[in-house]
């Protein structure tokens, strides 16, 4: 892999990691200066926060192969996908802080983070709910004869919901330009997915519908990037849907307030050895490159997110009256 490509992928992962770390601290009552929790101060991020810490390689590897006009649907764990699709970290942080200057004007928060202007059609609070939306968006792209595709991110838990089957079948029946990406962190909320899932796993379910799938190590950003490049090209070429099964690991609990104590600490410790940023760094060093380059990227990423935190903390709250805006206004409008 050309060094420039790995640097680009690493930078994206580092930015996601910095964003997740900052958001986590802000949700725990911390302040803009990282890690300095202010006792008694209300949390700057007051809602549920589903962190993708540890899963950055999937977002970075897939989205680095998308065009700006391509579309994307995400999950409740969607910060990484959103950043990787090209959203602005400051507007994202403002949304997490519930400010009027956030992407959703403070109406959505972390769980509904979205930037339609870069084709990111939204994180979603309902497992598997993005899948039918993604197939429909892909259907529209095909009907409108546009050259774009849809990347549909979902987790391993989604494979046990009905819309998983309905959307895969639909995409294959109509040969739609959609890349299904199962970001398999091996845990459904707080319960291991394996014992809850019959058969040979999600890729086998895709294969049963005739959808070609690739299963790989989702913590190896180079592997994800290479597979995604091939799959995206096939989807864009009119080959119908493809399926990427990326096995990864969620470093944090299900939601920000969840310490994840139901997991074996040894399992978590072992998984940290395969931190996608660490994996990429090892590769970089093994190829004879200087670690200082990545150190600089890490510090640039932190500076970017520090600035985003500062802007978000100073940003205005929505006016109460905004609660009555952006509702379907057909006919007589909204009655208070």
């Amino acid at each position: 892999m050309p060094t420039q490509r790995l640097v680009q992928l690493y930078r994206l992962m580092a930015r996601i990691r910095a964003f997740e770390n900052a958001a986590e601290i802000a949700s725990q009552g911390g302040v803009a200066a990282w890690g300095l929790a202010a006792a008694g101060k209300p949390a700057l991020v007051r809602g549920p926060l589903h962190l993708s810490t540890g899963q950055e390689a999937v977002a970075a590897g897939v989205c680095s192969n998308l065009m700006r006009e391509d579309l994307l649907t995400s999950t409740h764990r969607g910060h990484g996908h959103t950043l990787a699709k090209g959203a602005d970290s400051t507007k994202m942080m403002c949304e997490l802080f519930g400010r009027a200057t956030g992407y959703n004007k403070g109406k959505g928060g972390s769980m509904h983070i979205a930037d339609f202007s870069v084709g990111m059609l939204g994180a979603n609070g309902v497992v598997a709910a993005g899948m039918p939306i993604a197939t429909g968006a892909a259907h529209a792209l095909k009907i409108r004869k546009l050259p774009n595709i849809v990347a549909c991110f979902f987790g391993d838990g989604a494979a046990n919901r009905g819309p998983f089957l309905e959307s895969l079948n639909w995409a294959q029946v109509y040969r739609l330009p959609v890349l299904f990406v199962c970001e398999d962190n091996r845990i459904s909320a707080t319960t291991p997915t394996g014992p809850m899932t019959a058969g040979e796993g999600v890729s086998a379910r895709a294969a049963a519908l005739g959808i070609a799938s690739v299963r790989l190590d989702g913590n190896d950003v180079e592997a994800v990037d290479e597979a995604a490049r091939q799959l995206v090209a096939e989807v864009r070429g009119g080959g119908g849907p493809r399926f990427l099964h990326a096995v990864t690991y969620r470093f944090k609990g299900h939601v920000s307030v969840d310490p994840g104590s139901y997991r074996d600490p040894c399992e978590v410790e072992a998984a940290l050895e395969f931190d996608p940023l660490l994996v990429a760094r090892r590769k970089w060093i093994a190829d004879g490159n200087a670690g200082a380059v990545l150190d600089q990227i890490d510090s640039d990423a932190r500076a970017e997110i520090d600035a985003a935190l500062a802007v978000a903390e100073a940003a205005p709250w929505p006016e109460a009256g905004a609660a009555y805006e952006d509702i379907a206004d057909t006919g007589a409008g909204v009655w208070k």
Binding site: K107, G108, H112, G136, A140, P163, E166, T330
Partner: protein
């Protein structure tokens, strides 16, 4: 543009409205089960031939994906008309309707709008029993982000569908299955605005508000009472959200009595909202008539317990006048 009025059925009127809109706007498509053969009630007859399989999309039996895909289509530049076949099947797509379509515009801060029409035929029809006979309009009227439309006549089915297709936000469009074959005069080009009731009969003694399949027995009851010297004003609400409070309040303020009649179960039905609003704002006497809180039965004698009739409506009206 406005052509001469023509006699046609309620189903044909909807078909005409959709065909005209599809000719004018390439972004309008329809999707649902059995649309390839013109829809289970013939309400898409001829459209597959005229517009082809890319715009009249025959789908798998996948209600969740039908509705969810429509949301995605709307976000990607189309205006989908979703056919749910019967409202009972729309229950398989409630997340997609309630959490996705209805919430999208608001929760993403106005970044997008979901212009879709979800057609969900309602009502008792052809001895179809508990799972094919429901009227669930109150469920959707309860939900911020949804407009709820319930046409009662061929002209209104034509005109309200036309207005719905121009709305730009999610519309729950409820045609009554027992009305498909009803004939009436339709003036093409005549749109019926959303949110405006239609006063079908004037009267000074009592205001009777109803919609959909309730209109016919309500008019029968009003005619019967007129013979006894009781003047009943009959209002077809046509749109349940937003509902025409001005028209209803103006009438009820004059008559001092309001009876709301619907085929849906009376308990927590939309009639309760109208009656309570009138009582709060006008202090008038109110009453409701809906179905008892039982599933719709199969045998005629059981089904009748859930059906409206002119006699039941007249009894309720007379009780309110006492």
């Amino acid at each position: 543009m406005s052509a001469a009025a023509t006699s046609m059925t309620y189903a044909q009127a909807a078909c005409l409205a959709l065909a005209e809109a599809m000719r004018a706007d390439a972004a309008i498509i329809a999707l649902g089960e059995d649309l390839g053969r013109g829809g289970v009630f013939g309400q898409y007859r001829g459209l597959p031939q005229e517009f082809g399989a890319q715009r009249i999309i025959d789908t798998p039996i996948s209600e969740a994906n039908i509705m969810g895909a429509a949301v995605g289509m709307a976000l990607a530049g189309l205006k989908p008309v979703v056919e749910m076949r019967v409202i009972d099947f729309a229950l398989c797509a409630m997340d997609e309707i309630v959490n996705q379509a209805a919430k999208n515009r608001y929760m993403f801060g106005g970044q997008g709008r979901v212009a879709l029409i979800a057609r969900m035929p309602i009502g008792i029809w052809s001895a179809s029993a508990a799972q094919h006979s429901q009227s669930l309009e109150a469920w959707f009227a309860h939900m911020p982000g949804l407009t709820v439309v319930t046409p009662a006549t061929p002209q209104d089915n034509y005109g309200l569908l036309k207005s719905s297709l121009a709305s730009g936000d999610p519309i729950i469009y409820m045609e009554h299955k027992e009305l498909w074959g009803v004939e009436g005069m339709v003036t093409p080009g005549l749109a019926v605005p959303l949110g405006r009731a239609n006063c079908l009969r004037e009267g000074s003694d009592l205001t009777l508000v109803t919609w959909s399949r309730g209109v016919t027995p309500a008019l029968e009851a009003a005619a019967s009472m007129a013979a006894a010297g009781i003047a009943v004003e009959v209002i077809d609400l046509r749109t349940l959200w937003p509902w025409d409070r001005e028209a209803v309040f103006a009438s009820a303020a004059r008559t001092g009595r309001l009876l709301v009649v619907h085929e849906a179960v009376q308990v927590a039905g939309f009639g309760a909202e109208i009656a309570a609003s009138a009582a709060e704002n006008l202090g008038c006497k109110v009453a409701r008539l809906g179905a008892p809180r039982i599933p719709v039965g199969y045998a005629q004698v059981l089904e009748n317990e859930s059906r409206l009739s002119a006699a039941k409506i007249e009894a309720s009206a007379r009780a309110l006048l006492r």
